[in-house]
Amino acid sequence: MNLVQLERRPIGAYPQVPLVALDSVWFQVAGTLCNLECTHCFISSSPTNRSFEMMTEAEVAAHLEEARGLGVRAYYFTGGEPFLNKAMVPILARTLAQGPACVLTNGIPITARLAGELSRLSAGSEYSLELRISIDGYDAQSNDPIRGEGSFEKILLGVGRLAEVGLNPVITVTEACEGVASRAGRLKFLEVLRALGLSQPRLKILPLLRMGAEEKRLRPYQAHETLAGVELDRAAIDKLECGHARMVTKKGVYVCPILIDHPGARLAATLTESLVPFGLSYSACYTCHAEGLSCAT
């Protein structure tokens, strides 16, 4: 077995996670700019949040080239809302020439024309183009208080446009959607998706990260929600995104897609320099380990 040797450390210290292998590279391609202002957003993305600016195609291309040399398996695009970036289609074309791509979108910017372009990109690559669309309720009544007035209907239009061109998105739902993590809640959501005409409904349920806007919606992390003193074995490390991925932003490379508001999570300017161990000293790290959050599709 390829066991990872963890350093001995005093009780109460945080576990260190080595970069086991750089399998996934994330791009915060739209910065923190979003057409929505969801009340549970862990990085408080909004139409006016410019803490991170959008990335240019040239910036993404440079990191893609570096990633190719490092043997990266897959690429993810997030924001904010990735499709607010006008270069998103050429960026995806470039990406799909060297590996699979997954876009995390709220679905609202997906016009019939964009859906057509995405369909052509998908058909033209031997790699999968995944679209992940976030919804936070079974209906407008439960979704719109979180994602914004009228958003449910607009999201469904985007989902429908993808379905019309043969693209089957993964629908992601956070636990802000009441009961969705239970078996009954899951089945109910799958029925909602089937009713939309998705014959092969794909569903991913995500725990909440109690930071950013979510701190004010329900609650912040509590003192006991920490990994201080916790030992992680290889199996636990294998499940953590930070052991297998890095997040590229306009401001440099961060350890993961979640911690970009924390300066201590910025590791380097390049992917190559970012392949270093990371101490899990943030409360969000507790969610990834204890609640099994995985950003990957």
């Binding site: 390829n2 040399g69 043997g71 699979p100 031997e126 790699y127 693209l167 089957n168």
Partner: protein, 263 residues
């Protein structure tokens, strides 16, 4: 011992002893020098000991899959690597049946098998594994396994070719130098393509380089389906054998492989 030039590889057998018998006949008729089994002898199908008896009787060299690792270590589940609750539900039914119906002697034998192997074919160094060289239950699908990632694995493993299974769908991607990856597919259930036949793979080294042949195997799938029903195995598993469409373990599929199926 003469050099090997033509080798057959059997992926997940999943207790499909009829397909295994048929594949053995085809491989021998095609004059292979050797046959390797890449793990997951049990799962989905009936009477797991029958496939093991065929493998052992034919003295086929084999490596462990996640099923052999779990069964030999007494694990409570198959460690298949699914992430979806419905997929895990069916995976558990499959594992519990297989565990209850595999002789202790055979479970012990599984633990004596290696988890990987290195062999040579022509001038190529082959790294045999179940899932991936680094993890027994890693899924290497064609549409989410980038070429740079394959090249990295080859560098890490000091090999020319990765030969794997675990996903249940055969594919290959070789560079102009003949280096790359071959997923040999599965004998245990169809490739989610609406056809009832199953697959194994032959690699052949010749003057023109390495040749990959994915070989379809017709077998008495109706008889297998009847046996599965007699054993009380889930109707969803039987439907897959009868129709060629996967009904479970679907959420792990990437977009392209999912879109190719019915469910």
């Amino acid at each position: 011992m003469r050099d090997l030039t033509r080798i057959a590889f059997f992926g997940g057998i999943y207790s499909n002893h009829y397909a295994l018998q048929a594949a053995l006949q085809i491989a021998r008729a095609k004059g292979v020098d050797a046959i390797w089994a890449l793990g997951d002898f049990g799962a989905f199908g009936p009477h797991p000991d029958r496939s093991i008896e065929i493998l052992r009787g034919a003295e086929i060299p084999a490596i462990q899959g996640n099923y052999e690792e779990s069964l030999s270590s007494g694990a409570e589940d198959c460690h298949c690597g699914y992430t979806d609750p419905r997929d895990n539900h069916y995976a558990q039914l499959s594992y519990d049946y297989t565990k209850a119906n595999t002789k202790a002697e055979y479970r012990q034998w599984m633990g004596t098998l290696p988890t990987s192997a290195r062999i040579e074919l022509g001038n190529k160094r082959l790294r045999l594994c179940h899932g991936s060289p680094r993890r027994i239950n890693e899924f290497l699908w064609k549409s989410n396994t980038s070429t740079p990632f394959v090249e990295r694995m080859l560098r890490d493993e000091d090999a020319d070719l990765i030969v794997c299974t675990h996903t249940g769908i055969h594919w290959d991607r070789l560079g102009p130098d003949g280096r790359g990856i071959v997923n040999v597919g599965a004998l245990g259930r169809p490739a989610n393509d609406g056809h009832t036949h199953v697959w194994f793979t032959i690699l052949e080294s010749g003057p023109a380089g390495l040749r990959v042949e994915h070989v379809p195997v017709e077998y008495d799938h109706r008889r297998l389906a009847l046996e599965m029903a007699d054993e009380g195995l889930p109707a969803e598993f039987i439907e897959t054998i009868e129709t060629g469409w996967w009904t479970t373990c679907l959420e792990i599929l990437p977009a392209k492989e999912r879109a190719a199926g019915r469910y």
